[in-house]
C-alpha cells in the first residue's frame, strides 16, 4: 500500500499524479474464503479490516452488489456520538468512539473525524429529565458529557434562538464534547483500502442471490458471478437485511423505512457544533464544505425507494428555522433518502442465527454510521472466534422472544 502523507502528495504532484496506485484491487473471486462478508458498506468493510488486522483472518471476501459505501454510508449525516442511555448500547458506541479517535492514523486515510461536540437540546421538563438521566448514566459509564442550561447552550451556539418566547423554549441540553462528525465516504474508502492491503478481496458489482446451507450449517453463497464458499458468513447489508434474511430462511424483527436528509447551499462557517433536538425533530451541523447538513425524520411506512414524503422535510426545516431563525433566507440545495432497518427497541442486532456460521449485523436504524468502527470490530471478533464478543452479546435476536429489549428510543430519538 502506498502510504499517504503530505510529502507523498508533493512527490506525486511533481510527477503529474501519474503514479498513484489504485486504492484497492479489482480481484476475481476465489472459489472459497475463510470468511465472507456480505455487504460492502462501512460496517462490512470495517469488519473485514479488523478480521485481517486484529484477528489474522485475511482470506476474506467482501461481496457488494453495487459500489463500495454506496448505501447508507453514502447517505447519512455523519454524526458520531456515544452518549447512549443503556449500558449495553453505551458500551457499543463508546467502543466505536475510541476507535474513531485514532482511525485516520490507523488506516492511513483522513476520515476527517471532527470532534466538534454534539448538543442534544431539551425543550420540556421531561426532555431535561431524560437528558439528566442519560448524562448521569454516561458519566458513570465513563463517557464524557455534561448537562447545560439554556445559557450554556446559548454560549456554545450564539446563533441559536434560546429566548423564552420561542414556541418550545430551549431549556438546556446534553453536551458531548468528544462527539462530532466525520467524512462518510472516506470511512468506506479508507477501510476498503486498508482491508485490501491486508489481502481482503473486495468484490464489487457482485450480488448474493442465495445462501448455501446444508444441515443447518452455511457453507457459501450463490452470486451472479458464481458460487463462493465459506463456512463463516457475516451479513452486513443495511437497508436490505430483511431480504437477505429471508433468503436464508430467517425472520428478523426489522422494518425498512425511508430516512431523509438535506443540505443547504454551502455558506461560510457559522455553526461549529452539531445541534440535535428530539422534541422539535431536527438536527443540524455544517460540513467542512459549508453545507448545512440537516437530518429529517423517518417516514412511518416501509420503503426501499430511497426517498420519503415531502412533509417530513417541511417539518424538519420548520424545526431548524424555529431553532435558527437566521437561516430562513439560506437555501436548501438538495434532499435525499436512505433506507434504515429499524428494530422495535431502536437498537441493532449483532447475532448468530439458527443457521450455524451465518451471522447478522443489522437493524442500526438511524445509528449506524457512528458505530462503524465499533460494530466492525466486535463483529469481526465474533466471526473470528465463533462466539459473540461480550459487547455484541446483548444485541442477540433472542431478546425479542425473551423480552430483554434495550429500549433506546429516548436516546435514539429522531434520526441522527
Amino acid at each position: 500500500m502506498q502510504r499517504y502523507s503530505g510529502f507523498g502528495l508533493v512527490k506525486h504532484a511533481l510527477s503529474h499524479h501519474e503514479n498513484w496506485e489504485r486504492q484497492w484491487r479489482n480481484p476475481t473471486p476465489k472459489k472459497s474464503y475463510d470468511v465472507i462478508i456480505v455487504g460492502g458498506g462501512g460496517h462490512g468493510l470495517a469488519t473485514a479490516y479488523y478480521l485481517a488486522k486484529e484477528f489474522g483472518v485475511t482470506n476474506v471476501a467482501v461481496i457488494e452488489k453495487g459500489w463500495l459505501g454506496g448505501g447508507n454510508t453514502a447517505r447519512n449525516t455523519t454524526i458520531v456520538r456515544s452518549n447512549y442511555l443503556w449500558d449495553e448500547s453505551a458500551a457499543l458506541y463508546e467502543h466505536a468512539m475510541k476507535l474513531w479517535e485514532g482511525l485516520s492514523q490507523d488506516i492511513n486515510y483522513n476520515v476527517m473525524f471532527s470532534q466538534r461536540g454534539v448538543l442534544n437540546v431539551g425543550h420540556t421538563l421531561q426532555d431535561m429529565r431524560d437528558i439528566q438521566r442519560r448524562v448521569n448514566a454516561n458519566r458513570l459509564n465513563g463517557i464524557d458529557g455534561e448537562v447545560l442550561d439554556a445559557k450554556g447552550v446559548q454560549a456554545l451556539v450564539p446563533i441559536m434562538d434560546c429566548s423564552k418566547n420561542a414556541r418550545y423554549p430551549v431549556m438546556g441540553a446534553s453536551w458531548q464534547p468528544r462527539a462530532g462528525v466525520a467524512r462518510h465516504d472516506a470511512v468506506a474508502w479508507g477501510y476498503a483500502r486498508a482491508a485490501d492491503a491486508l489481502g481482503v478481496d473486495l468484490l464489487q458489482n457482485t450480488e448474493v442471490t442465495g445462501f448455501k446451507i446444508r444441515d443447518g450449517q452455511i457453507y457459501g453463497v450463490h452470486t451472479n458471478r458464481g458460487d463462493i464458499e465459506a463456512k463463516t458468513v457475516g451479513c452486513v447489508t443495511a437497508g436490505n437485511s430483511g431480504v437477505m434474511a429471508k433468503m436464508a430462511g430467517i425472520k428478523l424483527p426489522l422494518e425498512s423505512h425511508p430516512l431523509q436528509a438535506l443540505v443547504s447551499e454551502p455558506i461560510k462557517p457559522i455553526l461549529d457544533t452539531v445541534v440535535m433536538s428530539n422534541h422539535v425533530h431536527g438536527y443540524i451541523s455544517q460540513s467542512d464544505k459549508g453545507d448545512l447538513v440537516i437530518g429529517a425524520g423517518i417516514d412511518g411506512y416501509n420503503g426501499y425507494g430511497q426517498r420519503g414524503s415531502y412533509p417530513t422535510v417541511e417539518h424538519t426545516l420548520q424545526a431548524i428555522v424555529e431553532m435558527f431563525p437566521i437561516f430562513s433566507r439560506v437555501r436548501m440545495n438538495r434532499q435525499w433518502g436512505g433506507i434504515v432497518d429499524t428494530c422495535p427497541d431502536a437498537c441493532p442486532i449483532l447475532s448468530k442465527t439458527k443457521v450455524k456460521g451465518l451471522y447478522f449485523n443489522c437493524g442500526w436504524g438511524t445509528g449506524g454510521f457512528k458505530a462503524t468502527p465499533g460494530s466492525g470490530h466486535v463483529f469481526a471478533a465474533s466471526l473470528a472466534k465463533g462466539e459473540m464478543h461480550p459487547i455484541a452479546a446483548p444485541f442477540s435476536i433472542d431478546r425479542f422472544n425473551t423480552g430483554a429489549l434495550i429500549d433506546e428510543h429516548g436516546a435514539a430519538g429522531v434520526a441522527h
Binding site: N240, G242, V243, K246, K251, L252, P253, L254, E255, S256, G300, Y301, N302, G303, Y304, G305, R307, S309, Y310, P311, D341, P344, F400, N401, T402, G403
Partner: protein, 122 residues
C-alpha cells in the same frame, strides 16, 4: 407524498391525513396463554419486510378514523390496491410477480440486447 384512496370516504386524500400502522393481517393469537415465548415474540415483533408487494394497515386519522389495508410496492411506492378491514387482497406478491413476469420478460430481453449493443465511446 402518497395520494391514498380511502375506501370509506370514497376518494383520494393526501398522505398527511393518514398514519401507517405497520403490516396488515397480523392477528393476535387466539389463546395468548397457549403460545410459546417464541411464538409470542414473533407476534409482537417479527414482520414481513418485503422489497416489493407489501400489505399494510393504515388509518385515515384526520378523516373518517377508519383503519383499512393498502397493498403497496415498497420500491416504486405504487399503491396497487386498497381494501377494507376484514377483506383479503386480490393482489399478492405471488400473483403480482406472475403478472409482471409476463410483461417484464419482454423488457428484459430488450435490455439484455441493449447491453450487447455497442455504446458510444466518448
Amino acid at each position: 407524498m402518497f395520494y391514498i384512496f380511502c375506501p370509506y370516504c370514497g376518494e383520494h386524500r393526501e398522505e398527511e391525513e393518514f398514519h401507517p400502522k405497520g403490516q396488515a393481517h397480523i392477528s393476535r393469537p387466539e389463546d395468548p396463554e397457549a403460545t410459546s415465548d417464541e411464538e409470542w415474540g414473533d407476534y409482537l415483533f417479527f414482520r414481513d419486510n418485503p422489497r416489493g408487494v407489501h400489505h399494510e394497515l393504515w388509518v385515515h386519522a384526520v378523516g373518517c378514523r377508519k383503519f383499512f389495508n393498502i397493498t403497496r410496492h415498497t420500491v416504486s411506492y405504487e399503491i396497487l390496491e386498497v381494501y377494507k378491514m376484514g377483506e383479503q387482497p386480490s393482489i399478492t406478491a405471488e400473483n403480482y410477480a406472475a403478472q409482471q413476469g409476463a410483461a417484464s420478460a419482454d423488457k428484459e430481453r430488450n435490455a439484455s440486447q441493449a447491453k450487447h449493443q455497442e455504446g458510444v465511446r466518448a
